[in-house]
Amino acid sequence: MDYSQFLYMHAELSLLAVILILFVADLVMCPDKKSGKGVYNTCLPVVLLTLHTVLNFLPCAESQSCEAFGGMYVYTPMMTVMKTVLNVGTLIVCLMAHKWLSREENLVKQGEFYLLVLFTLLGMYFMISSGHFLMFFIGLELASVPMTALVAFDKKRRESAEAGAKFILLALFSSALLLYGISLIYGASGTLYFDEIGAQLDGSLLSIFGLVLFITGLGFKISLVPFHLWTADTYEGAPTVVTGFLSVISKGAAAFVLLTILMKCFAQSELFYSWNTGMYWIIVASITVANLFAIRQNNLKRFMAFSAISQAGYLVLAIMDGTAQGMTALVFYLLVYMVSNLGAFAVMTSIEENSGKILISDYDGLYQTNPKLAFLMTLCLFSLAGIPPFAGFFSKFFVFMAAFKAGYPLLVFIALVNTVISLYYYLLIVKAMYIKQSDSPIAPFRSDAYTRLALVLSILGVIVFGIGGVFYNYIEGFSYGL
């Protein structure tokens, strides 16, 4: 056995090292009941995670794609870019979790929070780098089991437990469908390696049924429309920080893997037609239905849930174009969506922690009391809606361009119409903050340094990624047509 192949897994190994260090740190420095105050709080995990991100991203420029462990594990520079995107998102989530974790009931649980978040990230790494369905499945479950624990993290709050129950039951259901699909694909092709499946499948009914179940299973994870029913409840019940993590990171990783697998395994003509038609209608339904439901929400977290479903529709739009361009558009869209959404969630967390308010009607008159937060929230919402100077416009533009080139002008048109609808409901919040008056607005407060750092990072992303295609071209340098 050649032990040097472990080096290809440097991203996973260094993340594992971070997890182990945090585990020991939690053991040694865990706050006890008497002194009360936690010894390490946010600082250590953030520093370690930053180190891990930088160390793994720097050498990716000159490295080549390769396989390890007999093709179970695949490594390409593009996957490193994707992992770095997820790292940055996790970093922002950890930063904005500070205030929430400093609550008295959460102080003893802060070590668990970081471990669960990082194990979820580790699962996504394996899922992204998989070259075999078994590896993919283990990564998927490693990502979704700790995620359940995160959703039910507020043990004493009933909504949190209820959200956790709904999440785990539907995660199990979708895993079972996914597994049944994989088993049928195995029956039709006789292999589970992504590279070999493509040549073995001939478009028989068995393989089409397997494909449908497979897309259904992943559709639950990305929360596309016919499979989205758990999303709003889970997002509402979960702690706000976890909702931010759930809406961006897990969704993005699953969408990337869906693109990879569809293009590697099911790209031949007969199967291509069947999944392409299916995805077409799924995208139309996701974007439209979620937009219509988002208009009537009053809870901001539920609102963001439906916004996230519709954004997932745009994300998957890039899959329709299975070339290098589609992949670049997907990763760039995810990057921009991540900073905009996490920025909005950082504002929401900050307001919820300081005033306990989460309804849209609570945000009335926010501009009078907290003008800076209101302004940052506006920037993020504009970016989510895709208004030109901000990054969201360019990411949507690249996705539309990819889908248009792939030959779906009608789909792009429907998506464009929906962008206008989404602008309406994003502006509802802006209107509440700036124009509406309130008798009891949220009192002015100053958020803590970590939250401010998270906000700065997100807003920087929203503005910087908007300055033209430098980042897009940079990502394009790594992408590959499958």
């Binding site: 039910a152 199990l172 088993s183 195995y186």
Partner: protein
């Protein structure tokens, strides 16, 4: 020797009995049982395909083993959440999980 169709029919019936149970049961524990039925159907499928169609390798058997282990882990965390809910509302009927709606 038993033909492959019989075995596949058994697994398909198990699978869709599980789906039916998942959609109709009122108790969350019964829902969990239904999901286990679905997962077992997939394990059976893997073993059958491996034994009958591709006996030269062991991919299907190994997949079944891993999926049993992973589904056990998932059920454990699901039951932990159910116990937590039971402590709060003294009931684990699915109808109790309706604090949040539309």
């Amino acid at each position: 020797m038993i033909q492959i169709e019989y075995l596949l029919v058994v697994s398909a019936v198990m699978m869709f009995a599980g789906v039916f149970g998942f959609l109709t049961r009122r108790s969350t524990l019964a829902i969990l049982l239904s999901v286990e039925l679905m997962l077992n159907a997939t394990d059976l499928n893997f073993a059958v395909f491996n034994r009958m169609l591709y006996p030269e390798g062991y991919e299907g058997y190994f997949f079944a083993l891993f999926s049993i282990a992973i589904s056990a882990a998932e059920s454990a965390i699901a039951i932990a959440i159910m116990i937590n809910i039971y402590r709060m509302v003294k009931n684990i009927q699915a109808g109790e999980l309706e604090q949040m709606k539309w």
